[in-house]
Symmetry: C2
């Protein structure tokens, strides 16, 4: 968006300091949001507020108001004129935009403490920051036992990005008139339930950790499709264990980014073997090279760091060429890849 | 530098996500610097490197190289063309600029873990993040007992900003031909030693915590001015305790930003009382409204957050009007304020 070569030297210095102080500024902007400072500014509109007025309306100390307003000024979240502070457009996004809120809560509750161990995670090939959340070797083992605040932030982040494309994906999948669908890594069952609700002739089997299957069963039950949503517990990473077979559709939504490439290949191979003749395997992933703009790419590259330091230490958000390579390595043929919403790519594969 | 009103909506979204993922991107860029990824790119110059070449030259896994290169791409630290990654200007600053390095090390070692408690610190009026470094009520109590890596980062940051203006400040102070100088909060004695070395007719007394005085005495000893650099231990915050008296010059360098305004007033009042007739009190501070550009202001606003979450929970980097108000409240007359280097302001005060 901004062309580096034409920017003045000072702008590069500012970029470097924004990186260097990013963790402190993150916490200041988040605190300003959660302590009512940004809300007070928003309500005051273009007239703006003096620090003392912000303190009074947000119910914080004058010191807190000043520290936060001054940090938010440099962070670009507010602006000042004659000591009256006003919210900027970026500030309104921090306060009101759902994606920005979900990202910030996820980074604070799930990632912040463990991010300190990013370098160690990379050196040791394990999520060294996960110990800040619980005594597990991957975050998936602990998902159902996370602290409530952490769990809420985790699921809000996960659902925000995956659920948006379910309706469109279902239109593509159900056009094949499948009767048996295998949802690999079905998580809390949102897709399976949506699928069963939309087509009463479909039965969905979810493959996942037993802890996740219990959550998924509750979701399906509550939606009245319990009898057509089944769970099959499996260790996804033991590639000697075959998946159940005889499916028209195998569905993998934001699953493969949770695994390193050698496991991606193993999962695709087992997914292909689960298909009936004529069946198709569908992979839905947000690929960083297929984003409509730099914002989407930025979020994905940052999310990879969560995988490194917190989730599993070995996976990342992939480039479409990475996935195409894995599909070929699994002996599958990539029939088509098409955009799903503005953020995801749907890879349609058949056994080779 | 960039005018908010004219920027496209997408740029504001990107700003908001840069804030939201700032802590993760910070750790990625720091790891890329410390694991040799940025160094490998720098050495390759405009030709750039493939991820596999980076992994080999930096001695890291291919996974680590990819995760870091992709994050650095979105962070603006490198750019890519046909899978060949090259360092950008911001990347060269991260790798080679001393200020950026000092800031990043300070944020990582001293601030990162405790920054998680910024909101709590603001709500409770105490540095709730300091527990990540040691069991003290302010960082000053623990300075001589910090972990070596943390201590190194703390002093490098402190000295980088304060030492640069010592020579110029000494020219101003010594022009008064003082014989007795009081250095309030003299820290590791760098200023006191420089002052004694530059003018053999001057004796400097350092007021500080006993732990700091021991370090300062060693510094003066090593420079051969031990006999003319004395230490006087004092609890700076007990405003009933007068300072020693009879000084031509009282010097406060980056001292006042370590205290809330009510203590700033108390310190200025006691400093004024320590002067001989005709003496002057000099305050050197980097004020956020007196910076030559947005970079300096940004660093100061971020540094305030360190004071909140780690150092003492009550102080911040001041605006020149804040300090002028404290000087008046202490019954002193602000005779002159003048720039010191490009970053600091020297306030020259006499008793009213």
């Amino acid at each position: 968006m901004e062309h580096a070569a034409r920017r003045p030297a000072l702008a590069h210095f500012l970029d470097a300091q924004r990186l260097a102080f990013g963790p402190l500024m993150f916490q200041a902007v988040r605190a300003a949001r959660d302590m009512g400072v940004l809300g007070a500014l928003d309500a005051a509109g273009q007239a703006g507020l003096l620090p003392g007025e912000v303190a009074e309306r947000a119910g914080v100390s004058l010191y807190a108001a000043r520290v936060l307003l001054e940090a938010c000024l440099s962070a670009g979240v507010c602006e000042v004129e004659g000591w009256r502070f006003r919210l900027t457009r970026a500030g309104r996004l921090v306060l009101r935009d759902e994606m920005t809120r979900v990202n910030m809560d996820f980074v604070h509750h799930v990632c912040f403490r463990g991010a300190f161990e990013l370098e160690r995670s990379l050196r040791e090939g394990r999520p060294a920051g996960l110990a800040t959340l619980g005594p597990w070797s991957t975050v998936y083992e602990g998902l159902s036992r996370l602290d409530p605040e952490v769990q809420r932030a985790w699921f809000a982040f996960d659902h925000f990005y995956s659920d948006a494309v379910f309706a469109e994906a279902l239109s593509v999948l159900l056009a094949r008139r499948p009767t048996r669908v295998l949802d690999v890594g079905g998580n809390t069952g949102r897709f399976a339930t949506a699928c069963a609700r939309r087509d009463p002739g479909v039965e969905v089997t979810i493959l996942d950790h037993p802890g996740q299957l219990a959550l998924a069963a509750r979701e399906a039950e509550a939606a009245g499709v319990g009898p057509r949503v089944k769970g099959a517990p499996i260790e996804l990473l033991d590639h000697r264990l075959p998946f159940p077979t005889g499916f028209d559709v195998v569905w993998m939504s934001q699953l493969l980014d949770c695994f390193p490439e050698r496991d991606v290949v193993g999962l695709l191979r087992r997914g292909g073997a689960a298909l009936k003749p004529g069946g198709r395997l569908y992979v839905s992933e947000p690929c960083w090279d297929r984003q409509p703009n730099e914002v989407g790419r930025y979020c994905l590259h940052a999310t990879s760091l969560y995988f490194t330091a917190i989730a599993n230490g070995t996976s990342r958000m992939y480039h479409s060429e990475d996935l195409a390579g894995c599909i070929a390595a699994a002996g599958m043929v990539l029939e088509e890849d098409r955009p799903l919403g503005s953020t995801h790519t749907l890879f349609v594969c058949r056994p080779g």
